[in-house]
Amino acid sequence: MAAIAMREIEGRSRGWWGLFALGGALLLGMLLAWHAMETRGHVITGMTNQVVWGLPHVFAVFLILAASGVLNVASAASAFGKGFYKPLAPLSSWLAIVLLAGGLAVLGLDLGRSDRLIVAMTHFNFKSIFAWNMFLYSGYFAVVALYLWTQLDRTAGRHSTLAGRVAFVWRLVLTTGTGSIFGFLIAREAYSSALLAPMFIVLSIVYGMAIYLLVLIATCAGSGRELGRGVVERIGRLLGWFVLTGLYFVAVFHLTNLYLAKQIGVERFLLVDGGVYSWLFWVGQVLLGSVVPLLLLWLPATRGGRGITTLAAALIVLGGLAQMYVTIVGAQAWPLDLFPGYEMRSSFYDGVIHPYAPSLPEAALALGGVAIALLGALLGVKFLRLLPANLSDESLQPGEGAH
């Protein structure tokens, strides 16, 4: 294959500026929401002493997972030796950094005492998976930044395979850590499963690759850069496999829970009786977030089309958010069972389904994470040579080395 020239985009189009303005507005909204929550307290959010983690955590965990998974495109090149993905790797590495920044910003600004971030970075309880994650997340920034440097700098390029392998292992550990935040919670019936960690790894790849495709297609469309149908089809086909694997893990997770008599109540709630949670699961996560995009990505009539693939990727993103909502909020809506076999009531809402309705400030905080990732992506493609100048099928040869 001939050397592929990498080039930044001009970044002066109406679309670029429009998205930049949108990102800026959302970021401003985030800062205003944060200020309001700092001064008036979390009482202005929908989060309570019953549902303690809400929409900000849904978005934060989604973005952190996507940050890990989006690097899969680069890993395919360096860890699995697929040459086709090599020129596509720099964008995937950059997106990993900006998505993580967005997710962590939401988590950090949602803290009850976000002014104490320095405390979080100087006091560590090493038995806490949260403390471990602080090292895993900050380390991921460093590892991916180095990896990106090996991709962009010709002299450092000889280390790119090594850096890619380190980054690959790092993101597996990182996502294991993210999944374990929930997996280690013995108190909550919906969690308490070692399966959450591997499931999160697969889901991270699903979310990350969907976002990669969205950014790739939008960048090429906005900058008038040619993007081959075969290129889109090949990435989409791989994404389809991960969507299928994700569905498999979700099925195994719920089936194993259904096998345990004590978990049947919460499973019945999430899958059947849970109202918004059951709808989000079946319609959001399974149907629109997995089955429909899988068909769009794989059917001969639709696969490879830019518009159709954009639709499929957007559905996967929305399905992913639905999945995080069910996983994080749905699990807390189900009351803790202090006395199995007893009906409970108290002034502290024991024994009843806990309602949750996100408020505008927490929605603004959550969307601010997306804004940070969006602004980062816009600046990245404008100032860094993250994408090939020519992404046509003739240039990238998507048929070569394909499985």
Partner: protein, 235 residues
């Protein structure tokens, strides 16, 4: 170059001086006079606990400066649970608060170490280093913790609370350290019902140990093997 280096050095030193008191001064206070020879615990005799009586809850609110409001955003350090056994219809009434586990999940998951267990078994939140992440609330099997959702006014001097931090029953540590009993135990005794007993679980001669030896006592969610400091009779 030298002057910049010197400036940075001075800035770092000043920063250290500014931060050090906050980091270190409260440490000795935390450990003062506390020994692991004692393990403070509480016994709830549910056969003496009446439905409708909330003397313990009212006393806790008074002692610790809680509002007593019971909205979804309000702190409740202790609440009365009314139970009805599904199979038999048997009813029970009992208070639930932080169970002061020997193996507390909240302490395990706390990223900064703000959730900690004192040598005498009392599980507390260090308000200086709690960042308000609420992971402990996700981890607690007893729903014992509350997050302060709004600004606080007129706090009690010996019970510091903080907006944006997590809090829970302290076993009235300020009273225990003065040699007194927790407010709920005292209030329950004053009603004449005497459903609550406080004492040293490590001392076989303490009243709480004698009562537990005589009639047995159970833990809520004993299956989790957290070795709670609060035990129940009649459940």
């Amino acid at each position: 170059m030298t002057s910049r280096r010197a400036f940075l050095g001075k800035a770092a030193a000043l920063g250290g001086i500014a931060v050090a008191p906050g980091l270190f001064l409260f440490e000795p206070a935390r450990a003062k006079g506390v020994t692991s020879k004692v393990r403070w615990g509480m016994l709830v005799d549910t056969t003496r606990c009446d439905e409708g009586c909330d003397a313990c809850v009212a006393a806790c609110n008074r002692e610790n400066g809680l509002s007593g409001r019971t909205g979804p955003d309000d702190s409740q350090w202790i609440r009365k649970l009314e139970l009805k056994e599904e199979a038999t219809g048997r009813t029970l009434s009992l208070p639930v608060m932080c169970q002061h586990c020997a193996e507390p999940p909240c302490v395990d998951v706390c990223p900064t170490g703000a959730s900690f267990k004192r040598a005498d078994g009392i599980v507390l939140v260090d308000r200086h280093i709690c960042i308000g992440c609420r992971y402990c609330m996700m981890a607690c099997p007893y729903k014992a913790r509350s997050f302060v959702h709004y600004p606080l006014h007129d706090q009690k001097p010996d019970v510091p609370r903080s907006q944006g931090c997590v809090e829970a029953c302290t076993l009235c540590v300020q009273r225990v350290d003065r040699g007194e009993q927790p407010a709920c135990v005292e209030a329950c005794g004053a009603t004449g019902r005497q459903a609550l007993f406080f004492g040293d679980l490590n001392d076989p001669q303490s009243e709480i140990s004698r009562r537990m030896r005589a009639a047995g006592a159970k833990q809520i969610r004993a299956d989790l093997q957290l070795d709670t400091g609060v035990r129940y009779q009649g459940i």
